[in-house]
C-alpha cells in the first residue's frame, strides 16, 4: 500500500474518532440541558396558567358574593319588587360581561328571577349548584348544562334573611369562552405547544388546537390524562415520551386544579421539544464532515507533495540502477526528503566518478591484455620454433642427469666407505685400548695379590721390587691412557659424558687427589673460588683431568715450599679457571707451543718429572671441545711463575665429539687460525652417544 493512502486512512480514523467522541459528549450534554429547559418551560407555563385560572375564578366568586350582598340588601328593603330585582340583575350583567346569566332560585329550586326571561319558572332543584349553593358559595365547574345544551360554569351562593336563614340562592352562569381564551393563549409555547383542561370524566373542556367542536364530546385516555387524574397532583409534574390525543409523541406538564376539578395539561410534540437537539446534532454532523474533508484534503495534498519528491527520487534511482548515472537529482526542499535527495546526489556523483575511473581502467586493461596477447602469440610462435631445439636440449639434460646419478651413486658408495672407515678407526682404538689394558690387568692383579701376600710370604726386597713394578705399570697405564686420549681427540672419537657439575665441588676433589704430591714438596695448595657459581653442564671427569693436569704441572715446576693458587670466577658468558704457580715461568716463545703434542720446554727437565708432553695437549683438546679456550700467562722471568687459564662457557656446548673434529690436536695448521676457528665454532649440536658403541667388537 502506498504511503499516501496509509497516511489518509490513519489520519481519517483519528479525525473520526475524535469528532465522534466530542459529538457524542456534546449531544449528551445538549440533550440534558435542552430537556431541562423544555421541562422548565412547560412547568412554568402550566403554573402560570393554573395561577391565571385560579385568580380568574376567585375574582368571579368575589364578584358573585358582592352581587349577592347587593341583592340581599335590595331584597330586604321595603320597596323591593320583582321588577326592581330583575332590573338590578340585568344592570349587573351588563357590567360583568363574563357572566352570561344571573338568576335567583327559591328554596324549591325554581328560577324566580333571571336576566334571561326564558329561564324564569324553570326548576333547577336537581342541579348541584342549587343543592350546594343553599348552604354556602359553590362553584360548579365545567358541567354540561342540559337545559342550556352547552358547557357551563355556575357559581351559586345563598341569600339569607336577618335570621341567617337561606331564603333564596343567587347564581351566576359563566361563559367558558373566557377560560378557553386563557387556555388558548400560547405564550411561551412553540409551534406545537398547547394547554387544555380535562375534567374528571376525561372529557376535554377547553378547545383543542387541532380539533374543533370537541367540548364535552371527546373523552380522551392518553397516558398523561390517566396519570394526572389518578395522581391529582397539586404541584406541576412532567411526563415525556407518550402519545397525545392526536397520537403525536409528546412531552407534557400537568397539574390538578382542585377548585375547578380539572386537570391542566400543557404539552408539545417531542419533535419540537427535541428540535434544538436535532439542530445541535446536525451542526455537529456538518462540522464533522467539514473537518473530515479538510483533513482529507490535507492528508492527500501534503503527502502528495512528499511522494512526488520520493517518486522523483525513485525514478532517478531506477535510472541509475539501469546504468544511467547522468541524471541529476533535482529536489531543492530543505526537509528530510531534501536531505535524502542531496546525499543521494552526492552518492550518484561519486558513483559516476568511480564508474568513469573503472571504465578507464577497463579500457587500459583491455589494451594491456591485447598487447600481452600479441606478445604471447609471438612468444608461442618462437616457442614452437624452438620446440625441436628444446627436444635436443632435453636429450642432453637426460644424459647429464644420468651422469649425475652415476656420480651420486659413487658418492654414496664413498660415503658408506668413509663411514666404514670411521667405524674401523673407532673400533681400532677400542680394540687397542682393550688389548693394551687386558695384559696390564693381569700384571697388576698378580702383583697386587703378591703384595697382599695372597700367594705366600714376600720378603722386603721382593716388596720393593714389586713397588717398582707397580709404579712402572701405573706409568705405562697412564701413558697408554694419554696416547689413547690423544688418538681419540685426533680422530674425533673421544667420548664425552655431559652432566650438570658443581665446579667448587669438582675443584675440591681435584685438590684432594693432588694433595699428597704437593705435600712431598711442602707446597701450599689454596683456592679462591667465587661464591654462588652456577652449575654448568660439562664432562666432569675430563675437566677434572684438565685441572689435575695443571695442578700436577704446577707442583712439578714449583720450588719446594712455594704456593699454588686455584682461582675460579664468573665472567659474562664464561667461567674462568686459573692455576697460578711461582715456578720459573714460561718464556714467551714457548707459550703457545707448550700445548702442542709431545712438546717439551726443556727435555731434560721434563724427563726428570716423567712427562711425555701429552698432558697440556689433551687438556687443550678437552677445553676446546667444551667450547672454551686455554692459554698461559707468564713474564718468562724465573720466580715470577706462570698462570694457566682456561674458560668454560656457561651455556653448554653440545656435540662435544663433533667439536673435536675441528680441533687440530697436532697443530699442523697455523696456531692463530686455529684459535680464530675455534672461537667461531663455539656452538655445535649435541649428538647422543649410545652404550652400544663401547660394547661392539
Amino acid at each position: 500500500m502506498k504511503i499516501g493512502i496509509k497516511l489518509v486512512i490513519v489520519s481519517e480514523i483519528l479525525v473520526l474518532l475524535t469528532i465522534s467522541s466530542i459529538g457524542y459528549v456534546a449531544l449528551q450534554i445538549g440533550n440534558q440541558s435542552i430537556r431541562e429547559r423544555i421541562e422548565a418551560q412547560l412547568g412554568s407555563v402550566t403554573t402560570l396558567k393554573a395561577d391565571h385560572l385560579d385568580d380568574f375564578i376567585k375574582e368571579k366568586i368575589e364578584n358573585i358574593i358582592s352581587l349577592r350582598n347587593q341583592y340581599t340588601h335590595l331584597l330586604l328593603e321595603s320597596q323591593y319588587t320583582t321588577q326592581n330585582g330583575r332590573e338590578f340583575l340585568r344592570d349587573r350583567l351588563i357590567e360583568n360581561s363574563y357572566f352570561t346569566e344571573f338568576f335567583i332560585l327559591n328554596n324549591n329550586g325554581t328560577v324566580q328571577l333571571s336576566t334571561d326571561p326564558m329561564q324564569e319558572g324553570k326548576v333547577k332543584s336537581n342541579e348541584e349548584y342549587f343543592k350546594q349553593g343553599q348552604s354556602d358559595t359553590f362553584l360548579q365547574s365545567f358541567y354540561y348544562d342540559l337545559s342550556l345544551q352547552q358547557p357551563a360554569i355556575t357559581i351559586a351562593t345563598p341569600v339569607k334573611n336577618e335570621n341567617n336563614e337561606t331564603i333564596q340562592v343567587f347564581a351566576g352562569r359563566m361563559n367558558i369562552s373566557e377560560i378557553s381564551e386563557i387556555m388558548s393563549e400560547r405564550t411561551g409555547l412553540g409551534e406545537t405547544g398547547e394547554t387544555y383542561l380535562i375534567n374528571n370524566l376525561n372529557f376535554v373542556v377547553t378547545p383543542l388546537k387541532t380539533e374543533e367542536n370537541t367540548l364535552f364530546k371527546k373523552a380522551v385516555y392518553t397516558d398523561i390524562i390517566k396519570k394526572g387524574l389518578t395522581e391529582k397532583p397539586t404541584n406541576t409534574q412532567i411526563l415525556s415520551g407518550y402519545l397525545n390525543y392526536a397520537n403525536t409523541p409528546s412531552i407534557g406538564s400537568y397539574v390538578y386544579l382542585s377548585d375547578l376539578n380539572v386537570l391542566l395539561i400543557t404539552e408539545m410534540s417531542d419533535a419540537e421539544a427535541s428540535a434544538p437537539l436535532q439542530a445541535l446534532g446536525n451542526n455537529i454532523l456538518v462540522m464533522s464532515l467539514l473537518i473530515f474533508f479538510v483533513t482529507l484534503v490535507f492528508c492527500i495534498y501534503i503527502p502528495q507533495k512528499i511522494l512526488k519528491q520520493i517518486n522523483n527520487l525513485t525514478t532517478i534511482t531506477e535510472s541509475i540502477s539501469g546504468g544511467n548515472l547522468g541524471v541529476a537529482v533535482d529536489i531543492t526542499s530543505t526537509d528530510e526528503v531534501g536531505q535524502l535527495a542531496s546525499s543521494f546526489e552526492k552518492m550518484r556523483k561519486s558513483l559516476q566518478t568511480t564508474n568513469e575511473e573503472l571504465l578507464r581502467t577497463q579500457r587500459n586493461l583491455e589494451k594491456k591484455v591485447e598487447k600481452r596477447t600479441a606478445e604471447l602469440n609471438e612468444k608461442m610462435k618462437k616457442l614452437q620454433d624452438s620446440e625441436i631445439a628444446t627436444l635436443n636440449i632435453n636429450e642432453d639434460l637426460q644424459r647429464t642427469v644420468d651422469k649425475l646419478k652415476e656420480t651420486q651413486t659413487t658418492i654414496e658408495l664413498q660415503n658408506i666407505q668413509l663411514k666404514k672407515l670411521d667405524k674401523i678407526k673407532s673400533d681400532f682404538l677400542n680394540i687397542t685400548s682393550h688389548e693394551l689394558r687386558t695384559p696390564m690387568s693381569a700384571i697388576k692383579g698378580y702383583v697386587q695379590m703378591i703384595m697382599k701376600q695372597k700367594l705366600g710370604e714376600t720378603t722386603e726386597e721382593q716388596k720393593q721390587a714389586l713397588n717398582v713394578i707397580i709404579r712402572n705399570t701405573n706409568r705405562l697405564d697412564s701413558l697408554i691412557q694419554d696416547i689413547l686420549d690423544i688418538s681419540r681427540l685426533e680422530s674425533g672419537t673421544m667420548k664425552f659424558i655431559a652432566e650438570p657439575t658443581n665446579i667448587q665441588q669438582m675443584i675440591k676433589e681435584a685438590i684432594e687427589t693432588t694433595h699428597s704430591l704437593a705435600d712431598t714438596k711442602k707446597i701450599q695448595l689454596s683456592t679462591n673460588i667465587e661464591e654462588n657459581l652456577p652449575t654448568i653442564v660439562i664432562d666432569k671427569e675430563r675437566i677434572k683431568q684438565v685441572i689435575m693436569n695443571l695442578i700436577n704441572n704446577a707442583i712439578k715446576f714449583s720450588p719446594n715450599g712455594s704456593s699454588i693458587l686455584v682461582r675460579v670466577k664468573k665472567e659474562t658468558d664464561n667461567l674462568l679457571i686459573e692455576v697460578q704457580d711461582h715456578g720459573r715461568g714460561i718464556p714467551k716463545e714457548h707459550q703457545t707451543k707448550i700445548f702442542n703434542t709431545f712438546y717439551q720446554v726443556d727435555s731434560g727437565m721434563d724427563r726428570k718429572f716423567g712427562g711425555a708432553g701429552l698432558g697440556l695437549s689433551i687438556a687443550r683438546g678437552i677445553v676446546l671441545s667444551h667450547g672454551g679456550n686455554i692459554w698461559v700467562e707468564s713474564s718468562g722471568l724465573p720466580g715470577e711463575g706462570s698462570i694457566f687459564k682456561f674458560t668454560l662457557p656457561l651455556i653448554p656446548v653440545h656435540d662435544l665429539e663433533g667439536k673435536f673434529r675441528d680441533v687440530d690436536i697436532f697443530r699442523l695448521k697455523d696456531t692463530k687460525k686455529i684459535i680464530e676457528n675455534d672461537l667461531r665454532n663455539k656452538t655445535v649440536i649435541w649428538k647422543e652417544e649410545t652404550a652400544d658403541k663401547g660394547e661392539k667388537s
Binding site: T438, S441, S697
Partner: protein, 124 residues
C-alpha cells in the same frame, strides 16, 4: 658358598681372576667365550658373573639376549675399558648388568664391587 663365573678370552687374566676370587673364598668356574659361558651357566648356576666386554665370537649384546633363555639369572659385572654415562648405565641395568669395572682394575676395587652384590656365604 657363593658361586662366581669368570668369562674372559684372555687365559692369563682369566686364571689370575680365578685364583684371586678363590683366594677370597668364592667358588669359581671359568669360560673363555660367550658360547662356552652359555653352555656352562645352567650347570654351574653362578650367583655372579664377571663378563669381559670384548671377546671373539658372540658380542656382549648377543650373550645377554641368549642369557634370557636360560634358567639361571646371575648378577653380571662387566669388565670394560670405557666409561659409561648415567643414561648408558640405566640401559645396562635393564639388560641385567649390575655394575662395571674399568681395566686395568685395582685388586681392592674389584673385590669391593663384587661384595656389593653377593655375600660370601649366602643363606639359601
Amino acid at each position: 658358598m657363593t658361586k662366581i663365573m669368570i668369562v674372559d678370552d684372555e687365559t692369563d687374566l682369566r686364571e689370575m681372576l680365578n685364583i684371586m676370587l678363590r683366594k677370597e673364598g668364592f667358588e669359581t668356574e671359568t669360560a673363555e667365550n660367550g658360547d662356552d659361558f652359555l653352555s656352562k651357566i645352567d650347570g654351574f648356576q653362578p650367583d655372579l658373573v664377571t663378563l669381559d666386554v670384548m671377546m671373539p665370537g658372540l658380542t656382549t649384546r648377543e650373550i645377554l639376549e641368549k642369557l634370557n633363555e636360560k634358567k639361571t639369572k646371575p648378577k653380571i659385572i662387566l669388565l670394560t675399558v670405557v666409561r659409561y654415562s648415567e643414561e648408558e648405565k640405566q640401559k645396562l641395568i635393564q639388560r641385567g648388568i649390575v655394575d662395571y669395572v674399568t681395566k686395568p682394575f685395582e685388586f681392592d676395587h674389584l673385590i669391593d664391587t663384587i661384595h656389593k652384590y653377593v655375600l660370601l656365604n649366602p643363606v639359601r
